[in-house]
């Protein structure tokens, strides 16, 4: 099962007030962004098909043999 990262972050914050406000460090922010990017990259990977395909006219190519014909 996969979850939306924004929703998960909101749930993890809880519903209570802390005495001292928590300041997120730039490192923590960067880590969070990096996690989201990585998650999105992996998700896109699954959409990207089983194999690379670039439209071209040939259906087969056999290297130099083919080019010499």
């Amino acid at each position: 099962m996969m979850y939306n990262t924004h929703i998960v972050s909101d749930i993890l914050k809880g519903n209570f007030q802390v005495k001292r406000p928590v300041q997120e460090t730039p490192e923590a922010d960067a880590a969070k962004t990096s996690f989201k990017d990585e998650y999105r990259r992996k998700a896109l990977g699954s959409v990207g098909g089983s194999m690379v395909f670039v439209e071209m006219d040939q259906l087969v190519w056999d290297g130099e043999t083919e080019e010499k014909k």
Partner: protein, 345 residues
């Protein structure tokens, strides 16, 4: 299906680049790793007898293969032409008692593909990935996946020597090892992934690792199997079945293969994600099917290749989204009739 810019068309247009970024390093790594095993190429296959040369059918793993009972119908007819199974359809053929002449494997994924040949570490793979629980073909297998895997493993070991494995150099190490262990005779090719005459071509780099024939894949194993049949086996009549490239209208979109990934694209918005599914009427049956960006991309690629193909293709899927230039949508029975007709000339 219009040409206007929508979230759907924009994502389809990005798939090519996503694929290049995703697969480039893996393709080169796997080709290097597989080079010592790739002793025979697809051009070294033994000649086919007259009936196998007369006609061929490519079986893909779309949901129609089960719903239309395509495998049972091939058996009942006593079809004697060449049978080429995509890896995802191979075990289903064996379970029904049909032994394909060829099985084609292409996808470089390191944990998913082994399943098609019986995964010796199935429980570990299943725990990591819910991909197969979203495969429509395998709805029955969801309930008893572990036993099914074990049965397939034994079935494949028993029948592998009767089928030739057509293996892409992109195949992962575990699939190559499993194919060898099961006893398949293997014949190799590179996926033709881009223009080898252009600078920085991945295809050219693959060929330089090892000079294997390169076959266009359309991005998926079923299309690669079809190009292999057309260009290497060269039958007089060629058909495809199980090539749905889409889903039956009664399937919930939550059960499609990339639903959760598409949901990420729209920040979890279950309404906006519906924009990524388009409906298509299949001309032979007038039934409606729907497709997602990935299957639409496969369809687009297939049509691109079909237009350039040296022969017409009979689509006997009897369902799905695949129709267009150089493709005749006919019933499987019509294909049987044509495969029996005497050869021209």
């Amino acid at each position: 299906m219009t040409a206007e810019s929508t979230p759907f068309t924009r994502l389809v247009d990005r798939i090519r680049d996503i694929g290049v970024a995703l697969h480039r390093d893996t393709l080169l790594r796997n080709a290097r790793c597989n080079a010592p095993s790739a002793k025979r190429t697809v051009k070294q296959l033994p000649a086919l007898d007259a009936k196998k040369r007369r006609s061929a059918i490519v079986l893909s793993a779309g949901p129609s293969i089960r719903r239309k009972k395509q495998i049972d119908r091939l058996l009942a007819f006593g079809y004697e032409g060449s049978i080429i199974a995509a890896d995802g359809a191979y075990a289903a053929c064996l379970r029904a008692g049909l032994i394909p002449d060829f099985v084609v494997t292409l996808d470089p994924h390191s944990t998913r593909l082994i399943r098609w040949f019986g995964d010796p570490h199935f429980e570990r793979s299943l725990a990591k990935d819910d991909y197969f629980s979203r495969q429509d073909l395998d709805v029955d297998a969801r309930k008893n996946a572990i036993k099914r895997n074990l049965d397939d493993f034994e079935l494949i070991n028993r029948h592998a020597p009767r089928t030739k494995a057509i293996v892409a150099s992109s195949a992962p190490e575990n699939v190559v090892a499993r194919i060898a262990e099961a006893g398949f005779e293997t014949y190799w090719f590179h996926p033709l992934v881009d223009d080898p005459t252009k600078p920085g071509s991945i295809t050219r780099a693959l060929y330089e690792i090892q000079p294997l024939p390169c076959i266009s894949t359309g991005g998926t194993v079923g299309t690669a199997a079809w190009v292999f049949a057309m260009q290497i086996l060269k039958p007089e009549v060629l058909a495809v079945a199980g090539m749905d490239l889409g889903y039956y209208a009664d399937l919930k979109i939550e059960h499609t293969q990339t639903y959760y990934e598409l949901l990420t694209e729209v920040d979890g918005d279950v309404e906006r994600v519906k924009d990524y599914f388009v409906h298509v009427e299949f001309p032979l049956t007038r039934e409606t099917f729907f497709t997602d960006p990935t299957y639409f991309w496969y369809r687009k690629n297939f049509l691109h290749l079909a237009k350039r193909a040296p022969m017409r293709t009979l689509n006997c899927t009897e369902a799905g989204t695949l129709f267009g230039e150089n493709i005749d949508c006919v019933s499987l029975d019509e294909f049987f009739a044509r495969s029996k007709e005497p050869a021209l000339g």
